[in-house]
Amino acid sequence: MNALHDAEPLLRADNLTMRFGGLTAVRDFSFEIMPGEIVGLIGPNGAGKTTCFNMLTGFYTPTEGRVRFKGVDITNRKPFAIARMGLVRSFQKTNVMKRLTVFENVLTGHYLDGRQSLLETFLPGERVRRAERAARDSAATIIEMMGLGRRMNAPAHLLSCGELRLLEVAVALAAKPTLLMLDEPAAGLNSHEAAGFGETLRTLVGRYVQSLLVVEHNMGLVMSVSDRVVVLNFGQKLAEGRPHEVQANPDVVEAYLGKAAA
């Protein structure tokens, strides 16, 4: 931990607070993600995990506090501008483009790689054709890597729940993020599928993304995948540390299971 703290954090949230009218969903929440780290964000239902996610990615503007990504203040930036800096997220409810095929979904995810002028759109030259070919090859590679090769040309609405989860991650990866944030990526997976999914996530870091933030209810997955776990409860940080430290923390046990009988 100490060695990591010497480096500049990739993402740093300072004293984030989010109020919706009289309800304070998140209060004074600070944390960091280091380069190369997999961080798990856990907490009981309604603890404020998704609100945090939305504040970090620009979908909500925090009532108070700042977010810095790669040393730049991104607190008031729009979601697409933050995505362009390399912070890409998935959504809690399965969010893919249902009527497009798996391949089209992931190809669309390559949007930032293929941006072009209006003139190039209508009179595509060699540069555009090359970028298009590269995007198509890269899309195929990502799909194979996520294990969806067989389903390449299937419309997304025909995929199983587990395949949809993989596709979501594939679309996010296509945007070439530095920091990938996944909101409950294993929801709806059985424990066997979740284990396989965890394996896949671990292989991403260092190869496709620099760091990973995972919000997840599946404890087995979070504890096996994360380098560090942050626990939220009632909108405040309850604990933070390595997986085994957090699991042994009496406050965390109480938040999840209630107080032990005296």
């Binding site: 697409f80 995505a83 483009m97 949007y111």
Partner: protein
């Protein structure tokens, strides 16, 4: 992609040969009107089919283009070769201004506000007599030496080909995929770096440009422009074409434009019933063919197990 392109090329060849087979002036007039509607339906389809927002104000761009060409022709005596491109550009500028306001809205709000813009322009055309000559309209627009219907036919065919080329390039480009991403899922679009407003704006302005070209052509062809060009009846016709043919496909609006143009003409005898019939047709399409005729064709192909030519990487390498 390849299938769609080949269909378009075959249609183009057919359209090029048509005036050599048909010499009847009435039939040629119908063909000109059908192609005029192909341009309009194609342009509306960019907004409805690819951005996924339902614009009821597309006549704003048709009318702006028509009045631009009419004014340039009657006042400055400019020929069609100049007025039509200028009409497209002026309509595109209007598209940018109107889009800057309306594209911040979605769903029903967008529908209502776009409709309001077309209505406002209709009122302006009706009342700004000094410029538009009010309800009397602008008559005697020069035909730039085009006397034969066949010559007009080739002009509008060139415009239709241009509109479809631009649409094809747009739809299958990175920018077109961004627009589709916004249509399918605004949140996912943003999270992969797409600016939803910017992506929608590109399609909206492109659609306005094409509608303006069509309007400019219309002014010269009919040689009269009045406030009717802003009327909702035009809008309804274009919508029926897009919905019937299949929104979100390039071939659909062409099929829709041809069918509806012919229907409108041959149902003329039953004047009053015509609109009722159109109403019934729209209801039937929404209920039974939500993706239009082309959507129906695509689904039949899938059910028959024939491999639909989708954009697979292997296929693209050979292009």
């Amino acid at each position: 992609m390849t299938l769609e392109r080949n269909t378009l090329l075959v249609a183009l060849v057919g359209a090029l040969l048509l005036p050599f087979a048909v010499t009847d002036q009435y039939l040629l007039h119908l063909a000109v009107m059908a192609l005029f509607y192909v341009v309009l339906a194609t342009s509306l389809n960019l907004v409805v089919g690819y951005v996924g927002e339902f614009s009821l104000g597309h006549t704003a761009f048709l009318g702006t283009g028509a009045y631009t060409a009419a004014l340039l022709s009657t006042h400055a005596g400019l020929p069609l070769w100049i007025t039509v491109p200028v009409a497209g550009l002026v309509a595109a500028a209007f598209g940018f201004a109107i889009g800057a306001i309306t594209l911040r809205l979605q769903g029903p709000y967008f529908v209502i506000v776009t409709l309001a813009f077309a209505e406002v322009l209709r009122l302006v055309a009706n009342n700004w007599i000094a410029v538009t000559n009010g309800p009397m309209g602008l008559a005697g627009i020069g035909q730039s030496g085009l006397t034969d219907k066949r010559e007009f036919y080739f002009v509008i065919l060139a415009l239709a080909a241009l509109a479809l080329y631009l649409s094809y390039r747009f739809v299958y480009s990175n920018a077109g995929r961004a627009a589709v991403a916004v249509r399918e899922n605004r949140y996912v679009a943003q999270s992969i770096g797409v600016d939803p407003f910017g992506a929608a704006m590109q399609a909206f302005v492109l659609g306005a440009f094409m509608a303006g070209l069509a309007g400019g052509f219309y002014a010269h062809y009919i040689s009269f422009v009045g406030p009717e060009v802003f009327q909702f009846a035009f809008m309804a016709t274009i919508i029926i074409m897009v919905l019937m043919g299949g929104k979100g496909t390039l071939v659909g609006p062409i099929v829709g434009a041809v069918i509806v143009t012919l229907l409108e003409e041959y149902l003329r005898e039953v004047q009053e019933l015509r609109l009722t019939l159109f109403g019934l047709i729209v209801m039937a399409i929404v209920l039974f063919l939500p993706n239009g005729l082309m959507g129906f064709v695509a689904r039949r192909r899938e059910q028959h197990g024939s491999t639909i030519l989708r954009n697979t990487p292997a296929e693209e390498k050979t292009v």
